[in-house]
Amino acid sequence: MPTPRQSRRNPLHSPTAACFAPRWVGCVWFPQLPLDLELQRHPELRDRPVVLVGRLAEKGIERVLGVSAVAAATGTGIAVGTPAHAVASCCPGAAALPYDTPYYGKAFEALLLRLEAVTPLREPDGFEAIYLDLAGLPHLDPEDPWQVQEALQPHLPPGTDWRLGIATGRFTSWCAAHMAKPGVPLFVPEAEKAAFLDGLPTFLLPTDARTLDQLHLLGLRTLGHLARLPRQAVLAQLGWPGERLHRLASGEDHEPLQPYAPKPVIRETFQFSEPVETVAEFEAMLGALLRQLWDRPDRERGGVRQLLLHARLEEGGTWSHTVTLRRAHEQWVGAFAELRRRLEGVRPAGGLLELSVEVTSVARVLDCQPALIETETEYREALLGHAIEHLRARLHRTAVYRLAHIRPRSPLPEQRWKLIAYDPFMSRARSRSR
């Protein structure tokens, strides 16, 4: 295995020669970024075994998705994929934290944006890796891995385990990052590429578990085993995806990086002054947030197809739920009515401190035709809605409320009722979903 190389000037590193220079790619690999972020959030858990639990599919059971080094060192057999219910019996002292995708996503996006100071072309790969185009940068010599590491260091979260691999091509840099030791970047020169890849295990290949199993059954344990086969034979056995794997294993890695472009986040958040536990308050806020979302001028036109709901709970945890709507909704009322039905039984348990709703998918083409002629009821509701909006705009505050029973059996009168902004559209949505 090649060792990290010392700084060496690149003879091709000049503006005229840059276009002929090899495309150097740096791969920053995070072996366990979600866990590192959780341990930064909960420093008191550093000495305890910690596992992250979550669902891989919407209807699947909860499984372990991350295991901290302390938890792995206990030797209790907890591994990624273990059912979450087995954690308590296997390792009674382990702290099981929910896999907080929105939190990791935000941290990862912030990281990607910070890395713009290093290179304008970056490609994210899940929460696991970031590829950096290091070619043609005036301030950085890609053949000096220590210089690249120093340039990256200030932009990466402190206390995070990350490895740097540099090579020509995305896949080779990914392999180099996996083989690098913490704090020691690994540089693979173009001439040593084939030799470097030869002995690496096939599980590094970017493919699905089924293909990896197939390679294993064929006795192909290393990239060298695969690369030495005739390409036509691999194509016949595994199809075009196999041909791609053969190319990658042979070091023919010319796939360009897909540049990262930050997507506008369409999210609305409300923080409650006191923990909210009732369905009525939850739905009132959900309706208000949906309306805010639909009114956003930066929302893409078309129907909203998927929403991500996220809540911060009084007990300290979080609740997240992604809802793919049965059809794209152009009006928030329809989405609210469907959400009310779909959230039955999966609403967050316990007091809510914060609720946010984010649009995660938009359909440009609607799959239903809006009604051409509105009914008498709809006409009256629209008139009432416009009148209420007019009052709100004139008084700069909500003018019409409805008295809602929040905790009907509470002995405290101020908690029994609350005034909730009256919205004729929401009333319709509520009655429609009943």
């Binding site: 009732t278 806020m285 208000a288 409320y401 009907p408 101020e414 909730i420």
Partner: protein, 110 residues
């Protein structure tokens, strides 16, 4: 997000209360009319009822109140309570429960 989408109702309002040696309210002063000048205290003519409420004991800030339904000398009925944790007095007017109010499964819709 507009902050006025949900508003509290029947919030307790602080009052000044003079009590007798048993802790029962004798005179009530409602708020301040102008700076430095408290409104005159109204004597309590009769105490019609009293009850104690202990709630939210599972939270960091539990609630413990002694409620008094009093008839003032000018004929008004008032609901007062003393916060047993701080000793402060409040008035809290709210309507008595009506038929059907106690159905927790069906929140009122306006």
């Amino acid at each position: 997000m507009e902050a006025d989408r949900v508003r509290p109702v029947y919030e307790p309002r602080p009052v000044q209360v003079a009590v007798d040696r048993h802790g029962a309210p004798r005179r009530v002063a409602f708020g301040v009319r102008s700076p430095g000048r408290a409104s005159p205290a109204v004597p309590v003519a009769r105490i019609n009822d009293r009850w104690r409420v202990d709630d939210l004991w599972w939270r960091e800030t539990p609630v413990s109140r002694m409620y008094w339904l009093v008839e003032l000398a000018d004929g008004r009925l008032e609901i007062l309570f003393q916060d047993l944790l701080t000793g402060h007095w409040f008035r809290q007017p709210y309507p008595p429960p009506e038929d059907g109010d106690d159905d927790p499964d069906e929140p009122a819709d306006g």
